[in-house]
């Protein structure tokens, strides 16, 4: 076993150390590319009081929505929560704190978190509720607001393929927030469809180097489709 071998043997081990009131960054867009088995493990563990940053909150029956049923999430940082009535009900009643964050800002907050940038200026949200209370600065005649980086005690993410060192490849639009979430997690846990031996991935085709990955596990995935839309031949 190499010190670079990131593979763990169970989902329990993958999330060992995750405790109540921690912050978790989760990859996925809608239900596409979500770490579905890691979410189920959090549900099984019953960890509570979590702050979760993820673009969406899943649906009532899939993804992060599963953690809402048992009220495991205290605060959600997301850009779009329209597909989940349970989410809306908990938000309206005040049980669930929500920080609506523009999608690009959320992606950049995670990217910055992983890249050692404490904050950045963006025009996104200036003059809107998102910009309230934030520092405003003018550059080249335009107003920008200061947004701070985000870090996770844990990151949970899904990739397509990995080698044992945690070098990752993603597939199609299942990439989305996964790479940034991983880089900003103090403990970055990634589940994949396939783990290959070291040397089997072309270094030129690795989307995210294993340096960012701490724990790796192979799983099987349901890949629920939210909006199955087809055309006729």
């Amino acid at each position: 076993m190499s010190g670079f071998d990131k593979v763990v043997s169970s989902y329990e081990e993958a999330l060992a150390g995750l405790e109540d009131n921690m912050t978790v960054l989760a990859g996925g867009f809608g239900l596409c590319g979500i770490p579905e088995n890691l979410i189920k493990e959090i549900r099984r563990k019953g960890t509570k009081g979590l702050t979760v940053a993820s673009n969406n909150a899943g649906t009532e029956s899939a993804g992060l929505g599963l953690l809402l049923e048992d009220k495991q999430i205290k605060k959600m940082i997301a850009s779009y929560v329209g597909e989940n009535a349970l989410f809306e009900a908990q938000m309206m009643s005040g049980e669930l704190e929500v920080e609506l964050t523009p999608q690009g800002t959320l992606a950049e907050k995670m990217r910055a978190g992983g890249a050692g940038i404490p904050a950045f200026y963006t025009a996104t949200g200036y003059g809107t509720p998102v910009g309230e209370g934030k520092e405003v600065r003018e550059f080249n005649g335009r107003q920008f607001i200061l947004e701070e980086a985000i870090h996770g005690d844990f990151a949970i993410a899904k990739a397509w393929k990995a080698d044992r060192f945690g070098n990752l490849m993603f597939r199609k639009t299942a990439r989305n927030f996964n790479p940034m979430a991983i880089t900003a997690g103090k403990v970055a846990v990634v589940e994949v469809e396939e783990i290959v031996e070291v040397g089997q991935l072309d270094p030129d085709e690795i989307h995210l180097p294993g340096i960012y990955v701490h724990r790796l596990i192979q799983g099987t995935f349901e890949k629920t489709i939210e909006q199955r839309t087809v055309r006729s031949a």
Partner: protein, 218 residues
């Protein structure tokens, strides 16, 4: 007659130019992809991380890993590329997208747009809309001119929480195509069969009417 959703999409698509990278929001904007003019090639950007979005898949082509920003299954055209959300918004914020089309609840003659929440009623979130309106120079807002009860959605000042401030210059409604210039709506085109008077009645914000306001050609 007010434009139908399809006619709105058709009129928007007339703004597509060959070689444009275009981001189309959910709803009517997405329909515009069905009316790309002959001889014009556009590359559709889907902010979840795809440039070169194709039509919906055939049943046997459906791939759970390939969706658009509305979470619908899609396909890719030849020449497509895939990337992360950070990369996607770098191209949006960085002004690399040539045209953005999105919907709204309200716009006002200061170029403000409200599209993501109705306090106490509807909280869906802004998704990528705030980044899109802040990052793009060339934006068309598609919306209905007034509510079903006849309340104008083209206001002197938005009443709902803003998605973006001072960033909208063109609005296409079911009744008219308007520019926003110097704090006023400017009536550029009318929907076929819709009179200037009807538009005036349903526009709450200050409206400038040029000498000639042609009908849209669809």
């Amino acid at each position: 007659m007010a434009l139908t959703r399809e006619q709105l999409a058709q009129r928007v698509a007339q703004e597509f130019q060959d070689g444009y990278y275009v981001n189309l929001g959910i709803g009517i904007p997405t329909l515009a992809a069905n009316y790309i003019p002959a001889g014009v090639q556009v590359m559709l950007q889907s902010e979840n991380g795809l440039l070169g979005m194709g039509p919906f898949p055939l049943d046997e082509e459906v791939d759970a890993d390939l969706i658009n920003a509305g979470k619908q299954t899609v396909t890719m055209i030849k020449g497509a590329s895939l990337f992360s959300s950070a990369e996607s918004f770098a191209m949006i914020r960085g002004g690399h997208v040539d045209l953005t089309v999105l919907g709204a609840f309200e716009v006002d003659c200061q170029g403000n747009i409200a599209s993501y929440m109705i306090p106490g009623k509807l909280i869906k979130g802004m998704g990528g809309a705030m980044d899109l309106v802040a990052g793009a120079d060339n934006i068309i807002v598609t919306m209905t001119h007034a509510s079903k009860s006849g309340q104008s959605k083209l206001l002197s000042e938005c009443t709902l929480p803003l998605t973006g401030k001072g960033c909208i210059k063109r609005v296409l409604t079911d009744l008219a195509f308007l520019d926003i210039e110097d704090g006023k709506f400017v009536l550029r085109e009318r929907a076929p069969g819709v009179s200037v008077d009807e538009i005036v009645k349903l526009t709450a914000g200050e409206l400038l009417i040029p000498d000639s306001v042609p009908e849209m050609v669809l």
